[in-house]
């Protein structure tokens, strides 16, 4: 029986409310835990002061830590998790590949190269922003990877191995290009900073990053929700979607463009964080089933919560040191990747 954990017959509203409550709690926990733990109640009071002009006697330093560092960081983590999650979801659906994810397909690597080319090599002479460079890099990487997989697999619609292999090749190429640019143009201090950033790092995140990450994640989310029916129609492949009245090419361009955009923006802010786009959509599918009308919000919520938690873990796992968040997501993601691979190959038979 096709029963998902949260079946449609269970009233939907409480589920949505529950999800949003969990997200809010995760944001508060994210602002509360850190090198110095600040009580939950204080966190809520600081937010009340900052957002609603409430009046509580709280130390200015604590206020600064919570509001300027931790809360902005938690919001960026949430936006990033949601963005990477829905980006992976779109890629999995449109490429009909359960292992598709912006990191595995080399899109994140391409975005990194683009960002580094702007920031370190000075491409564009300051006229192009870091994010725009990352976006171009992401698109170039995607076109290259898909082109390579097409060339390798002909036009077989189910050549699922080819695109992953092409992604491996693309990732290697763009990571090599990134290293090349760094080796050529960066000094030792810069190089160390960039390497740390490339592994995924939320340390330097402040409010201006929120104003970039959150609107982009939100707009891309709306675009995908708007295309939920079109994405559903891809269940049996592009031809079937077309026979159901979907303009396949237009849908692919809009949605893959949106996925590349959100990936690029997140990479330009926090570096290449892997496996979120792979694992989160599968977890969401397990909970709410394969229809995109519900799957997209579920993926965004789970991605947001997952990355806030991963960020907390990255801050507290080694006392006094911050571990790159990409390490945490990879430690969770790799076993999940293996599991999906094994289960997927069984399911395909």
């Amino acid at each position: 029986m096709a029963r998902h954990l949260l079946d449609r017959r269970i009233v939907r509203l409480p589920v949505v409310a529950l999800g949003i409550s969990l997200l809010v709690i995760a944001l508060l926990v994210g602002a509360s835990i850190g090198e110095t733990n600040i009580p939950f109640a204080t966190v809520v009071q600081v937010l009340a002061i900052k957002m609603f002009g409430a009046d509580y006697p709280i130390d200015a330093i604590d206020q600064g830590i919570i509001w300027n560092y931790r809360f902005s960081r938690a919001i960026v983590a949430a936006s990033c998790g949601a963005g990477l999650g829905i980006s992976g979801l779109v890629l999995q659906t449109l490429l009909r590949n359960i292992l598709a994810d912006p990191y595995i397909l080399g899109i994140s690597a391409g975005a990194s190269t683009g960002a580094v080319a702007i920031a370190v090599a000075g491409v564009g002479g300051g006229a192009i922003s870091l994010s725009a460079g990352a976006f171009v890099g992401a698109l170039v990487a995607f076109v290259l990877v898909v082109g390579l997989s097409r060339a390798a697999g002909g036009f077989a619609s189910n050549a699922s191995g080819q695109i992953i292999l092409a992604g491996v090749a693309g990732s290697q190429l763009f990571n090599a290009l990134t290293s090349f640019i760094i080796a050529r143009s960066a000094n030792a201090e810069q190089a160390r900073g960039i390497m740390f950033w490339l592994l995924g790092n939320l340390s330097g995140v402040r409010w201006p990053d929120v104003w970039l990450a959150t609107p982009v994640a939100f707009v891309v989310f709306i675009i995908i929700v708007f295309h939920a029916r079109a994405l559903d129609a891809f269940a049996f492949g592009a031809d079937a979607a077309s026979s159901l009245g979907i303009s396949v090419r237009r849908t692919q361009i809009i949605l893959i463009g949106a996925a590349a955009l959100v990936t690029a923006i997140m990479v330009s802010i926090v570096g290449a964080i892997g496996f979120v786009g792979l694992v989160v959509p599968h977890a969401a599918r397990y909970l709410v089933g394969p229809r995109h009308g519900r799957l997209t919000p579920a993926t965004a919520l789970i991605g947001a919560i997952f990355l806030i938690l991963a960020d907390i873990v990255s801050r507290i796992v080694i006392p006094g040191q911050v571990m790159p968040i990409g390490v945490v997501t990879a430690l969770v993601g790799s076993p999940a990747f293996a599991m999906i691979l094994v289960r997927g190959s069984r399911g395909a038979k």
Partner: protein, 262 residues
């Protein structure tokens, strides 16, 4: 109302798959396409559904070039069940059939009571209502085929294009699907392998090597001589003692003796 091919040619790279095909499907008829493997039946059906761009020539729908009609409007008029459609998504049969409503729903239109009724009717008509909540991966090939036909029916199109719909089906369901097709008040174009099943069509087109050899009634076109030439089998018409209808019995041509090969 008509769907027509005009000098239709389609090439995959340098290989010509379909060459210079012209014919018209009449409103309300059941039009069968027969021909050996690789004769271009599936490609012709994809072209008629507007899923491939003709290399030369055109498909017209009510006189309008199909390439100039947008996908959504086309899908409201023409439904297609291609071969070997599969998914890794854990969809139920009902969810699959609900996809048939896609061309009629906007991005934020809710799935209404009328849509639900259409889906329910399609499930009943194709005999898969008892499987409605079953997950796709648990279905047999025949059950999947019927679910796809139900999905196409839910599309409520005036034209239904089926690529070998009786494939994978046991004999009961083969006959049930053919009977369903006859009952439907719409135009059906289908590719068939079984020439005796093709005898039940209003008209048929016989394809060979990417060309349309002839179009006409099954009795006029499926002659023993033509079957021998195109399918490389001997066909013997036999009269069914029950209903007096002609059925075809097939045999391989007698092997040529080694002396004749010299």
């Amino acid at each position: 109302m008509s769907l027509a091919a005009n000098n239709l040619t389609w090439c995959a790279g340098r290989t010509t798959i379909i060459e210079d095909i012209t014919f018209e499907v009449r409103k309300g008829e059941i039009f069968g396409l027969v021909g050996p493997n690789g004769s271009g039946k599936s490609t012709l059906l994809l072209l008629l559904a507007g899923l491939r761009k003709p290399t030369r020539g055109k498909v017209t729908f009510n006189g309008v070039n199909l390439a100039h009609i947008n996908r959504r409007e086309t899908a409201q008029q023409i439904a297609l069940v291609a071969q070997q459609l599969d998914t890794t998504d854990r969809l139920s049969v009902r969810e699959t059939v609900e996809l048939g409503r896609t061309p009629w729903l906007g991005p934020i239109t809710p799935f209404g009571e009328a849509d639900r009724k259409i889906v329910e009717d399609a499930l009943v008509e194709t005999g898969v209502a008892h499987l409605a909540e079953r997950q796709w991966q648990t279905l047999s090939g025949g059950e999947r085929q019927r679910a796809h036909i139900a999905r196409a029916l839910a599309q409520k199109a005036d034209y239904l294009i089926l690529d070998e719909p009786t494939n994978h089906l046991d004999i009961h369901h083969q006959l049930a699907i053919l009977a369903l097709i006859k009952r439907l008040p719409i135009t059906v174009i289908l590719a068939l392998h079984d020439l005796n099943q093709a005898m039940g069509c209003d008209r048929i087109g016989i394809m060979e090597g990417g060309r349309l050899e002839i179009v006409g009634s099954p009795e006029d076109t499926l002659t023993a001589e033509r079957i021998n030439r195109i399918f490389e089998v001997m066909a013997h018409p036999i009269i069914d003692p029950v209903d007096g209808k002609t059925i075809l019995k097939f045999a391989l041509p007698e092997e040529k003796k080694p002396t004749e090969l010299k």
